[in-house]
């Protein structure tokens, strides 16, 4: 008999937990949410289809495997990660959670996001759709894949993408 399907409440709770870790700059803990074979990707903002774009054949904005997810988290905690010193204040808003049918034990989950980032006296925002593949583990989940598709054509206003979406 297979385990009961995870509840919407459990999935949403997990996404909110991830957002809270990010807003609290608990990045090493955040990086532990990912499976060893995980990927965190953001395709080029002009990709014809950012969901299927391949970082091995097209230029991405961000394309991390697990070691680089951990390295990114580690680096951003350093004072010498100048772009994020002092750390931006961020607020991750996650909504419109849609849960797909389980595929090979993993759960495809989509969520809309808006992230506000303030550094100095300047506030910018990043919005889009996050596509997750969540791997159920014990009572909770780990992230096998996270791809953020931004509803932006350029980062003319935002400048940088040094926070984690």
């Amino acid at each position: 008999m297979s385990a009961p399907a995870p509840s919407r409440a459990a999935i949403e709770e997990f996404l909110y937990h991830e957002a809270e870790l990010l807003d609290q700059w608990k990045l090493p803990e955040w990086s532990e949410l990912f499976t060893d074979d995980a990927r965190y990707d953001i395709a080029s903002l002009d990709a014809a289809d950012p969901l299927t774009a391949d970082p091995a054949t097209t230029l991405f904005v961000l394309s991390d495997d697990k070691p680089r997810i951990m390295a990114r988290a580690k680096r951003l905690m350093k004072k010498t990660a100048h772009a994020e010193y002092p750390h931006s204040k961020t607020r991750h808003i996650t909504s419109n959670v849609r849960i797909g049918p389980a595929a090979g034990g993993d759960l495809p989950v989509r969520a809309n996001f808006v992230v506000y980032r303030t550094k100095g006296d300047r506030t910018v925002h990043y919005m889009g759709e996050a596509h997750y593949l969540l791997a159920p583990e014990g009572e909770g989940f780990r992230i096998r894949r996270k791809r953020c598709n931004l509803d932006l054509n350029t980062l003319a206003e935002q400048g940088r993408l040094t926070i984690i979406l």
Binding site: L45, P55, A56, T57, T154
Partner: protein, 447 residues
């Protein structure tokens, strides 16, 4: 020639006797000077538009802003590349609203005038009201950019019909473009995808930063530490130790004529053509070593070494960066105001390289470069710190003196962590801003 509003101001001070080179900070903050730059520099110099591989098929087009002018770059139905101002000759509407695409014609959405891919007006969407010979002189065709020329597939425009040729303009930069392009056994191409972002700083700060070997340790220490952890290097073997102890001993920064300059440096951060590093594993070693061997067959060991081992940061005056280091990249810096710029960057790659080498190349690129890279974003922070610092302080001069000699700054050479290449830029900038003759057509062979 427009009268220079800064002809009587010495914004660049060169004092070789005392080893000093200074640039007045108004050059980074004055809107009046910025407007003068648009007229005296950007309306006269060759400006990068795009690479021929971005428009592979007939009718392929893209739209780009180049020095505050919106252009259409299009391959005609005869296969010829052309550049036009993106404005209908009727009332001015932009006739092309897509960033890129393929089309047989451009139709103005306002009154329906139709232009073909050679810019010729084909229809005015009216069967009465205009004289039959209304466009006899072609004056109602899409306006062609005065000059469009290319070197090794890199297309540039010039808004000055009387400009010297692109080949002459590029001077010694041609040799570095050759070295970069010769890494490919075949053609190079732009890889799909781009980085497009804004920086709240004067565009010249990014020009300076793009071939600055002096900032690497303090600005990029966290990237160097990442490299060391990735390759499990420590102590004397580490990238950090290399920067501290070895970097300045080999390589150089130099002017290449007409304001261009290049930083040549030896940093073993790994290159798909053709410098293997342990982090890439033994399988790739065979392939990269084989590429290196073929490179030596094609060019001999010396030139092969210049291609494979030397990281090149090339700045083509006034706003193009072509770097062949952790990535092979075209970076165009679009000035927006005295205190802001926009950056577009693309990845270049040999067309014939293997899929795993391509993947490695792109991964290398994105790890350091771009708005989420472990390097570029920290550079951007430095440029914005510079801009904020000099906007709000009465200090008048920026120092660009490191490694200053009494040689002609436009072609002088110094160490990789000196500032000779930036002085080459500023010396040219100074001549143009004062309305002085600035372009040399003398062939400069450097490599």
């Amino acid at each position: 020639m427009p009268l220079s509003p800064v002809a009587d101001r010495r914004l660049v001070q060169m004092d070789p006797a005392h080893g000093r080179f200074r640039v007045h900070r108004d050059s980074f903050r004055s809107e009046e000077i910025f407007q003068a730059e648009m007229q005296l520099i950007f309306a006269k110099c060759w400006l990068y538009l795009g690479h021929e591989t971005e428009l592979p098929g007939k009718g392929d087009f893209l739209t780009r802003r180049v020095a505050d002018r919106d252009l259409i770059f299009v391959r005609s139905r005869d296969g010829v590349l052309g550049a036009f101002f993106n404005t209908c000759t009727h009332r001015g509407a932009q006739v092309c609203r897509d960033k890129r695409g393929t089309s047989k014609s451009f139709t103005c959405p306002y009154h329906g005038w139709v232009y073909n891919t050679e810019g010729k007006l084909m229809s005015m969407n009216a069967n009465r009201g205009f004289p039959a010979d209304v466009n006899a002189d072609g004056g109602l065709n899409l306006r062609r950019v005065p000059r469009l020329e290319q070197y090794r597939g890199f297309y540039f425009v010039n808004y000055d019909a009387n400009a010297i040729s692109l080949a002459d303009y590029l001077a010694g930069a041609k040799d570095f473009l050759d070295l970069m392009c010769d890494q490919a056994e075949g053609d190079i191409a732009v890889v799909p995808g781009e980085h497009a972002y804004g920086i709240n700083a004067n565009y010249k700060f990014l020009c300076e930063n793009s071939y600055d070997g002096y900032h690497l340790l303090p600005t990029h220490i966290s990237y160097l530490e990442f490299l060391d952890e990735q390759s499990k290097l420590s102590g004397k073997e580490s990238a950090v130790a290399f920067l501290v102890n070895e970097y300045g001993k080999k390589g150089r920064g130099r002017g290449l004529g007409n304001g261009h300059g290049c930083l040549e440096s030896w940093v073993a951060s790994g290159r798909p053509v053709a410098q293997w590093i342990p982090a890439w594993g033994p399988e790739l070693k065979k392939e990269i070593d084989a590429t290196r061997a073929r490179l030596e067959q094609r060019f001999g060991p010396e030139r092969a070494g210049l291609i494979a081992d030397v990281q090149k940061n090339l700045v083509i005056f006034p706003n193009l960066v072509i770097n062949d280091n952790v990535g092979f990249t075209v970076r165009v810096i679009e000035p927006v105001s005295a205190t802001s710029m926009r950056v577009n960057a693309w990845a270049l790659a040999p067309v014939n390289e293997s899929p795993r080498i391509r993947a490695l190349r792109l991964d290398n690129f994105v790890s350091f470069l771009g708005p989420a890279g472990f390097g570029s974003a920290d550079d951007v922070e430095m440029l914005e710190l510079c801009q904020r610092g000099l906007l709000h302080a009465p200090v008048e001069w920026n120092e660009i003196s490191k490694g200053m000699t009494d040689a002609d700054p436009r072609t002088a050479s110094a160490g990789p962590d000196d500032e000779a290449q930036m002085r080459a830029y500023w010396a040219q900038w100074d001549l143009l801003m004062r309305g002085q003759p600035a372009f040399s057509t003398a062939a400069a062979r450097v490599a």
